[in-house]
Symmetry: none
Subunit: 413 residues, 2 copies
């Protein structure tokens, strides 16, 4: 069978709704789409519900599906974040998302983000990383962007059925919570015990760390505690590259997307100039996408900015982000090898008028060799309703791409 390749360009949060500031057009309708419309006219389009109509998904879930998994494969945000920041995750690890926070002597969370700390967190994490909680249980921690960190508790017989130490409340006098088992299992009780132990020992060490002493001297809040949330246990998920017998690569600035990519067995490629924002280096992304295409079967190239502008309720900003995405698509399309399909998709809708992810379907497009073309000539939420792919689930869309590659196993004989 002819073997072909995919470059999938994902515009995060692309889908939107008509907006009064844009003459009641969606940002995608309003934007100049020189390159995307050219592909639409020569390709096939449709609408995708990542899970099912009306159901909103997070960036992690949306990408998990676009990398080829089922919604039920979702491992929790923790393991994805851990992979995204470059930690090794082993099956059975309990992974938590954390904030560096400031607590006072009474255990009150004075600031959930330790004065929005940005510097020194690498040193703080280094102090705690690898802490032994007994002969068989160990903690690993790594700082992420700004006040965020990822914590792994590693050992036999642990469970993610534990509560958060994060009080999930504003900075107005709430104490951090003691971590509790969420069920009667020995595993959950053990995990809660070790996590509480870690938090106490960390607190004692952090209080006196030079980074914090210096912060206090400068009148800043010290990062003297970790508030934890979203415990997830890393299951063994077969890498998609193994399952489909393909090689994959992902170019992105955002750690969540890079985390899903690693889970799926894709090489995670990033660069300091991929900012995860509107000023991201699209020329580099396009160049890398084409380079990675040479030695890989499935290349994902991601742009975060449309989602950010949706969350910011900034329709004109989103238009601009989409026009930059269109430029990136053009740079790739202009040098697309003959054996490669270029597909466009989004992980969810983030309408500017809502400022949050919604369950509205997203437009998708496939362009490339010997495709059935539909009559659609514009890549928009409205025109793609009339696309030849119809309305698909995210999983059906990805299987369509795998099918075009020729790597889907025939059923029957």
């Amino acid at each position: 069978m002819l073997h072909r390749k995919i470059i999938l360009a994902i515009a995060d949060g692309l889908g939107d709704r008509p907006h009064p500031d844009l003459n009641n057009l969606t940002p995608l309708e309003y934007a100049k789409r020189t390159n995307m419309d050219r592909l639409a006219a020569q390709g096939i389009t449709g609408m995708v519900d990542l899970i099912s109509p009306g159901i909103p998904v997070g960036t992690d879930m949306g990408h998990l599906i676009l990398f080829g998994y089922q919604p039920t494969d979702y491992p929790g945000r923790g393991p994805i974040e851990a992979l995204g920041v470059g930690m090794e995750v082993e099956p059975g690890d309990v992974v938590l998302r954390c904030n560096w926070a400031t607590v006072n002597d009474e255990g009150i969370v004075v600031d959930r983000r330790a004065g929005r700390i940005r510097e020194g967190t690498t040193e703080l994490a280094a102090l705690l990383n690898g802490m032994k909680l007994d002969d068989h249980v160990q903690a690993f921690i790594q700082s992420a962007t700004e006040h965020r960190a990822v914590l792994i508790i590693r050992g036999n017989g642990l469970s993610d059925q534990i509560s958060d130490s994060d009080p999930h409340a504003p900075n107005d006098g709430h104490p951090y919570h003691e971590v509790k088992a969420l069920n009667d299992s020995e595993e959950a009780r053990r995990t809660a015990y070790y996590l509480n132990l870690f938090l106490q020992q960390s607190h004692a060490l952090l209080k006196n760390h030079p980074v914090n002493i210096e912060r206090m001297k400068q009148g800043k809040l010290p990062a003297n505690f970790l508030i934890t949330r979203g415990a997830g246990q890393a299951a063994h998920l077969e890498p998609m590259t193994t399952r489909m017998k393909i090689k994959g690569s992902c170019i992105a600035g955002e750690s969540t997307v890079l985390g899903v990519a690693k889970l799926a067995g894709f090489d995670a490629i990033t660069d300091i100039t991929m900012t995860g924002n509107i000023d991201t280096n699209i020329e580099l992304k396009a160049k890398l996408a084409l380079e990675q295409n040479v030695s890989n079967d499935f290349v994902v190239v991601h742009m975060k900015a449309p989602d950010l502008k949706g969350h910011d309720a900034d329709p004109l900003g989103k238009v601009y982000a989409i026009e930059r995405f269109d430029e990136m698509v053009g740079l790739i399309a202009d040098q697309l090898p003959e054996d490669t399909y270029l597909a466009l998709a989004a992980d969810h809708s983030t309408p500017c008028e809502i400022g949050e992810h919604t369950g509205d379907p997203v437009p998708v497009l496939i362009y490339g060799p010997s495709l059935r073309r539909d009559r659609v000539t514009e890549y928009t939420e409205i025109e793609c309703m009339y696309g030849g792919l119809g309305r698909l689930s995210g999983s059906q869309f990805v299987t369509t791409l795998h099918g075009l590659m020729g790597c889907v196993k025939k059923q029957g004989s």
Copy 2:
């Protein structure tokens, strides 16, 4: 997140097929649709299969789905009817639909509807209601419209796996059936025993009731027996209002629809002028829909007449019923608040040429704030095939509505 509301107007049995009496148009195509077409031009449309293409559904199942449940949640017609006529239903109750019937001394069902009895059934039910069948098992009965009644057998260890006493045969010499257990369980045997006991004791009491003595004097058939069918056991179904954290209200004339509404946790609102027929009070329905919208998140307003005319194989009557539905829709649309979507749907198709429910999909429409508009400008079975929603299951359609309201939980984070 922005919180929005829904008014869902349901035209029972709306879907149809082209009919020779209507110039080969469907009743919906043939009807004047001034208001519905206006909404179609400004909204988004599609086709809905309540369960799946080709599968006909009953009014109870169709509404159960339109209120947000899955087909597998179906509790049987009995519990729905009981709620619809205002009976309290407890988990474990075995609920049956009954006819007041006339049997002779040999047990032959002389008339399945006791001469289409309309008066005196409340007194007959009062005589039997609360009958103790032993220290722990009790029967409750309430008359419904015309010759119909609802019976509840309440006690521990009962089962709905029992046969009907209704012979389901014309009035030409068939005996009523003894109720039998449908499986080997103790529960089914017990329930059959108690139900047979109730039917015998009722027969003895009914024969000599003044209502029946008077009927016989007037040459009418006495209502001296209950033929039972459709045993269902009330399970605990979580109210949809609880699950979605919303407040709901339903305006309808038909007890089945009101029963489903109560099951779903919706307030059931009716009035003597809501006749369940073509002369129903559409002005009052529209007024109540708008009033209920103020304090509720999801309001259902229902009209039965299109279904009746479909069963009557009366295409012109169905056209007229649809035009009255269109008027009602107009009254609501003219005063629709800005935060509210108006959706149109049907619970199933009842084509005039068939006279029964069929599995043909039904047209749906959503109109309201900042929706993606499709190109469809007419609300008909044909035009909505080209609608931007595509072809959805009933459950996907309702999740789309819940999604627009902003009450669907995000998957992933």
